[in-house]
């Protein structure tokens, strides 16, 4: 029986891995979560057959209560509030891991130094994840509005961590630790998590949640080791590892090294160099561009002189058609002075075979941008530069521009740091909702096409 259960746990772990793998591609993502869901149910059911189990009533009550509340809250919450829900559920996972450790300490089952060390580590990490996630939740939910830093934040962090480690060591050394040490240990760990998270704010939050998520994974993995449960070990470590990687990816996509996220949060001190335009330019890959557009409802393509230089019009239209086959609405927006002659874009789009009814001029489309999911700017620069609206000293001040910056997402295709005709910096590129897709238009749109095709099932 027990062997069978172990075997089942292994199977569950494998399905988890496959599920996660599936979740990393838009095409298979939904399948992935459903598989993982079944695996979870299987794991839970199997666990009831673990030899020597008691307290079934309490157990079922807890499951029904915890599961029910979470299920319900996850169902009703608004789509925009998803991130904080992820945070809070993650915190609960961390809490559960910590609680397992606590119970192990309480039962005083000595398992040797390795096991104890792992248990303590798991408890520490789990607690940090728990309190950290709670803070993250509070911030995102708007319960906690101000991001504050202690005067010597980093020092305090180090001290607290040191204390936690000392207490942890104490627990490991004393086979059956006094409750007071255990409680102190948990309190310090919880405080540490809270203090670490408090100063972080704004756009960095998702990165932090992802990091805490990886922490919880680790904690679960460690506790799994203590319990000798393969499902926990494998799933925990895999989540720990993939979560760490994911955190890095997310940080990279935002152009913020993880170090900075944690130690010099955005809302903190000034960002350094005295650039007139704030923010950073954030790159994205052709794959990203493809998936963002493929799963959008409405994409507006803004061609500019760069598309003409690259001769990319045929590719661009091919991409647009592919997206349309996928159910995406694709329009073209032509700025009055895009290109280098009146009608420059018209000539090219006509050459590529774009029908006239897909082509809109600035006046017709400018009001729509707030409803646009993705504005794809291909080799245009000046004509989408918001500086024209705001900066009186700019040579392009007063020129009406296409309001692409008001779209949910902006993707800008260009080869590098080249400026436009007027030779000035473009504030659009530094906006939060803007991502740069570097490459010559012809070639990079070709790559996007390949990825869009791969996303068709």
């Amino acid at each position: 029986m027990s062997a069978l259960i172990q075997f089942a746990y292994f199977g569950v772990a494998v399905v988890f891995i496959l599920g996660l793998k599936a979740m990393s591609s838009p095409v298979t993502a939904r399948k992935g979560i459903v598989w993982a869901g079944y695996a979870m149910i299987a794991a839970t059911l199997v666990t009831f057959y673990t030899p020597g189990m008691q307290n079934y009533g309490l157990m079922i009550t807890a499951i029904v209560l915890g599961g029910g509340v979470a299920w319900w809250s996850g169902r009703v919450v608004k789509m925009t509030d998803m991130p904080q829900m992820v945070a809070i559920y993650n915190g609960m996972g961390g809490g559960a891991a910590a609680a397992i450790a606590a119970l192990e300490f309480a039962r005083g089952g000595a398992h040797g130094v390795t096991a104890s060390t792992l248990a303590v580590l798991g408890a520490l990490i789990g607690s940090v994840a728990f309190s950290g996630s709670c803070i993250a939740f509070a911030k995102l939910q708007g319960i906690m509005t101000k991001a504050w830093r202690l005067p010597q934040q980093n020092l305090v962090n180090v001290v607290l961590a040191g204390v936690a480690v000392v207490l942890g060591l104490a627990i490991i050394v004393t086979e059956t630790p006094p409750s007071i040490i255990v409680i102190a240990f948990f309190v310090v760990a919880l405080v540490l998590g809270a203090i670490l998270t408090t100063p972080i704010g704004g756009a960095d939050m998702p990165v932090v949640i992802s990091l805490l998520n990886a922490f919880t994974g680790l904690a679960v993995g460690f506790e799994g080791y203590v319990l000798g449960n393969p499902a926990l070990i494998v799933a925990g470590i895999v989540v720990g590892a993939s979560g760490t990687l994911l955190t890095q990816l997310m940080a990279k996509a935002m152009n913020r090294p993880i170090r900075n996220v944690i130690f010099t949060p955005l809302s903190g001190a000034a960002a350094g160099g005295g650039e007139a335009i704030e923010g950073t330019m954030k790159e994205l890959s052709a794959l990203d561009a493809a998936s963002v557009m493929r799963y959008a409802s409405k994409v507006v393509i803004v061609p500019g002189y760069g598309m003409a230089v690259a001769g990319a019009q045929h590719k661009v239209w091919e991409m647009a058609q592919l997206l349309e086959e996928g159910g995406v609405e694709v329009l073209f927006a032509i700025h009055p002075v895009a290109g280098r002659m009146p009608g420059h874009m018209n000539v090219l789009l006509a050459e590529a075979g774009v029908p006239y009814d897909k082509i809109f001029d600035m006046e017709e489309i400018n009001a729509d941008f707030p409803q646009v999911d993705v504005a794809l700017v291909i080799g245009a620069n000046d004509v989408v530069n918001p500086v024209a609206r705001t900066d009186k000293s700019s040579p392009i001040y007063g020129m009406p521009i296409l309001n692409v910056d008001m779209a949910h997402n902006v993707i800008v295709v260009k080869r590098g740091q080249g400026a436009g005709y007027s030779g000035i910096e473009n504030a659009l590129f530094y906006k939060d909702n803007c991502r740069m897709l570097y490459g010559s238009a012809q070639q990079i749109i070709g790559e996007v096409i390949t990825h869009v095709k791969a996303l068709e099932v």
């Binding site: 599920g19 996660l20 990393s24 591609s25 838009p26 939904r30 979870m40 666990t47 009831f48 673990t50 008691q54 307290n55 079934y56 157990m59 807890a62 499951i63 209560l65 915890g66 599961g67 979470a70 299920w71 998803m82 992820v86 559920y89 993650n90 609960m92 996972g93 809490g95 559960a96 609680a99 397992i100 606590a102 119970l103 039962r107 998702p206 992802s210 998520n213 994974g217 679960v220 506790e223 449960n229 799933a235 470590i237 895999v238 989540v239 720990g240 590892a241 993939s242 994911l246 990816l249 994205l284 794959l287 990203d288 493809a290 998936s291 963002v292 086959e325 996928g326 159910g327 068709e456």
Partner: protein, 88 residues
């Protein structure tokens, strides 16, 4: 080690739009901590209320992690339903 390696392997190329759903998905996966929680609660001393309480909390939190993680992930991923069907 192998598991860690797999973790890296699993998500080498993830499009940005999947970052949050994937985070949520792995959040769900570590909800398997529920199993551990059940085991410790199952082996807790029925006579020691402290143990029972902690165990209860563990299972409660674990179940919430699993259930909530699932629902939220599933909802996020629903938007990746192929739209082509509707369009054609």
């Amino acid at each position: 080690m192998l598991a860690a390696f797999t973790g890296y392997e699993v998500i080498s190329r993830v499009p940005v739009i999947l970052h949050t759903p994937l985070m949520s998905g792995s959040n769900f996966v570590h909800g398997v901590v529920l199993v551990g929680a059940m085991v410790v609660l199952g082996h807790a001393d029925p006579a020691d209320p402290a143990q029972l309480a902690i165990g209860f909390v563990a299972v409660f939190l674990g179940a919430a992690n699993a259930a909530g993680g699932y629902v939220v992930t599933e909802r996020m991923l629903a938007m990746f339903k192929s739209k082509a069907g509707g369009a054609k």
